[in-house]
Amino acid sequence: MSAAPALASLQALFARAVVAGEDEAVLAHLAGDPETARRRLGLYRRAILANQAGALRAAFPVVARLVGEGFFDEAARRYGEASPPARADLNRHGESFPAFLSGYPHAASMPWLADVARLEWAAHESLMAADEAPLDFDALARVEAAGQPCLRFRLHPSLRLVRSAWPVLAIWEANQPGRDGTPDREEGADDVLAWREAGRLRYALLAPREAAFVEALARGETLAEAAGEGEPWDFGTMLGRLAGAGLLCAFSRGAAAPP
């Protein structure tokens, strides 16, 4: 039996065993039969992988369905090696899983997969975002016409915009429970707005300039800046849709975005 190492070194040895399977060093500090202890360390190793894969599967059910169980578990394992969780809250473990998938060689034949994952993460985040009441529309109505181009808005915390070169919304919808996985269309570069309304996820397909407009508002640009300099278009309708969905939470006039 070796002398008891300090807690930090012992835990580092233990972690190496249950993460990388290098168990020799920690076995020297475990009681009982070493062969039994080795197999028991395997229980931890499998539980850790299962917990992480389970959290990813909960956040990315469509990706999981598209690639199948074995592929997903292996991708989850490699992602866990590339981006080990820094926090206990596994609801946040998948944040860079879409980026991981975009560079994952085994997913190269599915170039849209990472964007489907981005859409799923947007939905996941949207459902966990803060609650916030819509802005005071009476106060907004009192802004004189001349001041309107200078208005800036704070959008609802649950709002997410995913812009893709692929028909990600069609793929996502086709892989919801009860659907057979066949997308309604194969063409498209989908700009998807996702948000939460009355506790449920909502989404809509936007035209490119609508998406650019929402993106600009989210950056804190004024209405005039967000509308763009090209040919005039009816951005008021898009603004009305945002307002109707409760996604405008505050406004300000002038130089700074609302806090």
Binding site: M1, A4, A6, L7, A8, L10, Q11, A12, F14, A15, V18, V19, H29, L30, A31, G32, T36, A37, R39, R40, L41, G42, L43, Y44, A47, I48, N51, Q52, A55, P84, P85, A86, R87, A88, D89, L90, N91, H93, L127, M128, A129, A130, D131, E132, P157, S158, R196, G199, R200
Partner: protein
Amino acid sequence: MTARFPERAPDPAKAGIGLRTPHFEALATTRPPLSFLEVHSENYFADGGPSLAWLERLRADYPVSLHGVGLSLGSADPLDDEHLARLARLARRIEPALVSEHLCWSGIGGRHLNELLPLPLTEEVLAHVGERVARVQDRLGRRILVENVTAYVRFSGSTIAEGEFLSELARRTGCGVLLDVNNAWINAVNHGTDARAFLEAIDPACVGEIHLAGGEATPDGIVDSHGAAVFPEVWELFARTVARLGPVPTLIEWDTDIPALDVLVAEARRADAILAGAGARREAA
């Protein structure tokens, strides 16, 4: 701060169940009599959204226990202040009857392993965990309970028996013990030790809650899966434990392969019957 919810302690003569997403709606509409609902705190760390809204809605009908699985009380890494801040925020929002964590560690060197890992039970570790429990209690402004975990392996350097360790931790910090009878039984079977000796070493005065759960027998030992009915041997140990302690708020933990709500409630009723026969609480917690 003004309380937003009715202040109700769990009824120690009745069992509670773990609250899981598939049962939100059935619980809110049928409201079966249960002592309390317990959630994994980390599942409600979000800033807002439907899960938190459900928990608040159900909190109006039931006392809630916040059971943490990620604070990593025994890690040699610094306590995660952000984690603690989110737990404090959740506790302010939900006004829980009980807050608990585990005698374990879950990460080292900035890497989280998302599993309840065993600790060597030594004076050094007792001092370390004691200091951290005290900090958590200061930060939350309340007592927490600390649970004995399933330890698939044990350390040859351990010098303190687990029952004494937990009782001494409680004595030093004022924390309580969450006595997991299932974990005690699994450890005894997996290591060939006596669960009764562990349970009897626990100071009755510090036990604030009991956990019951099912496990899974595998070639490598019994695994604490929380995915099945409570084992007969665990019911027997539970009866023996409450005969010694008197009635203690008891939880049926079943969080994988989650069954229908009535299956969970039936397990709780079985625990109720045993708690009802336990007489009066021997010593105040």
